[in-house]
């Protein structure tokens, strides 16, 4: 079985977000990027399937600044191959454009199961999983956890609100949008990543196409700030508030 993980980098929301001079997107030079945390869950789920059944795991990312380190880390964790998908355009505008590029890349690979994160912080035009599945014409269960794979099919839980879930079985080839792997993403020491960087190499896969979005952002802005919270000076003020609320006597 060949499990392919589709990952992307997303803006690190802990950092200040700066809008570019055209006012339509974040300024890439002022933005810190990191691996989408849900894609990290997808990678972990793929590695767990490999641990249990001995499958091959490949990780695909659109080529961009910073993805080499993410891909080498994936190899150090146990992925078998790491592939940079290269397009004419440096930036792909949104998930539909990314889904088209990834569909073109997957068209050149034999795959059984595609895993990606349920969502990303920069999603504005749909979730990558169901967009990609639709382009590939494979079944998709999104918001997935509790994955088990065997004999050409997977069973999976799909999460709803209120802690409710449904169990589905899905034929392969197919795609899952992963909410949470069965365990937290594994840790890999930096020394091991460095070692892998010396021994292994990343593959590059060129894909042809325009990969245009279906919609465009006309303007981006920070939401209008409400008056917001009344700020407290420290723990003593918080304690006074708790007393006022009758929580502490």
């Amino acid at each position: 079985m060949h499990v392919v993980v589709i990952a992307k980098r997303v803006p690190d929301l802990v950092e200040d977000l700066v809008i570019d001079s055209e006012g339509r997107a974040l300024d890439p030079d002022e933005t810190e990027y990191k691996l989408n945390e849900f894609d990290d869950q997808a990678l972990e789920q793929a590695l767990l399937i490999k641990d249990a059944h001995g499958c091959k795991v490949s990780v695909l990312m659109h080529d961009a600044d910073g993805v080499d380190k993410i891909l080498y880390t994936a190899l150090a964790k146990g992925a078998d191959s790491a592939i940079k998908v290269c397009t004419d355009a440096e930036e792909l505008d949104g998930n539909f454009a990314l889904a088209q590029a990834m569909a073109a890349a997957l068209g050149t690979l034999d795959y059984d199961l595609v895993l990606t994160g349920v969502q990303g912080a920069d999603d504005r035009d749909g979730q990558l999983g169901p967009l990609l599945a639709s382009l590939l014409d494979v079944p998709c269960v999104n918001v997935a956890s509790g994955v088990s794979a065997a004999d050409g099919a997977v069973t999976v839980h799909k999460e709803y609100s209120g802690g409710k879930m449904a169990r589905f079985s899905m034929a392969l080839p197919g795609l899952l949008g992963i909410q949470a792997a069965a365990q937290s993403p594994r840790y890999v020491p930096v020394s091991k990543v460095r070692a892998v960087q010396k021994e292994a190499s990343l593959q590059e896969l060129e894909v042809e196409g325009d990969f245009e979005p279906l919609s465009r952002v006309a303007a981006m802005s920070a939401p209008e700030q409400s008056a917001g919270a009344k700020m407290l000076g420290g723990a003593p003020e918080l304690l006074a508030l708790l007393k006022e609320q009758g929580v502490v006597s």
Partner: protein, 308 residues
Amino acid sequence: MKALVVAEHLGGKLAEITFEMIALAQQSFGGCDLALIGGDDSMLAELGAVGTVYRAEGAGLEHYEPERYTDCLAAIIEAAAPARVCFGHTSMGMDLASSLSARLKAPLANACIAADTSGATSRILGGKMNAQVALDGELALLTIASGAASAADGRLAGSPATNSVAAPPERGRIRFEAMVEPEAADVDITTQEVLVAIGRGIGNQEGVETAQELANALGAAVAASRPIIDAGWLPKSRQVGKSGLSVTPKLYLALGISGAPEHLEGMRGSATIVAVNTDANAPIFQVADYGLVGDLYEVCEELMEEIE
């Protein structure tokens, strides 16, 4: 502009988001039709505010199955010919909207908090940015964020006209097997008066104990945002937010929770919200009544000392 709202239901009941979308469609597009897949006749009684209810008819529609429901909706969209289709920004709505966007090559705006006939406002980047998306095509899709409009404004007694649409046959690639009941909760966080809620900012598992000690001192229970549950540090029954529970305690003390929209959805209704976070720009301070910028461990320690 002709709009279609995709109804969502679970456990035999229409979800609140359905009525919120109806209200939004009235304000933004002057009214709407409604797509109902599965569900039963009793649901129609609350749908007096919609024009026509398009009902997919066929066997095996009782339970949501992503491919079958997508196929049904494609048939309903063809029959109803709307210019805008509204889905909940929910587990089901995200599936359906994304699948149909790619299939029909229809633009999609995600997690919308507002819309009009020329575009929509998507709330992105953890609620830190709004993207104004231009929509000028014949057919465009929107997922609507929870709270974008008032459900009460969309709920109206009545008996709307219905129009049957034959459900396409099952493809059989995905099979619904069973509903999985939530695990039994040791503590019911929905009935607590005071909640100490922890998020990613606690940093490590020991932080759960710190929070529990503070909760004990305050006669409160510990709740958490998603990352704490995914790390396995607390059971799912303690999760507040979109895929967890909605809570409305008298006091919600949020420690190290940044305030992603998915979390805010589950705790916005708390009577008083107090947030402690190291990031003064964290969105949680926008919904909190009181805020404290600082290290949550130091704050907890000082509080515990004072209380004891």
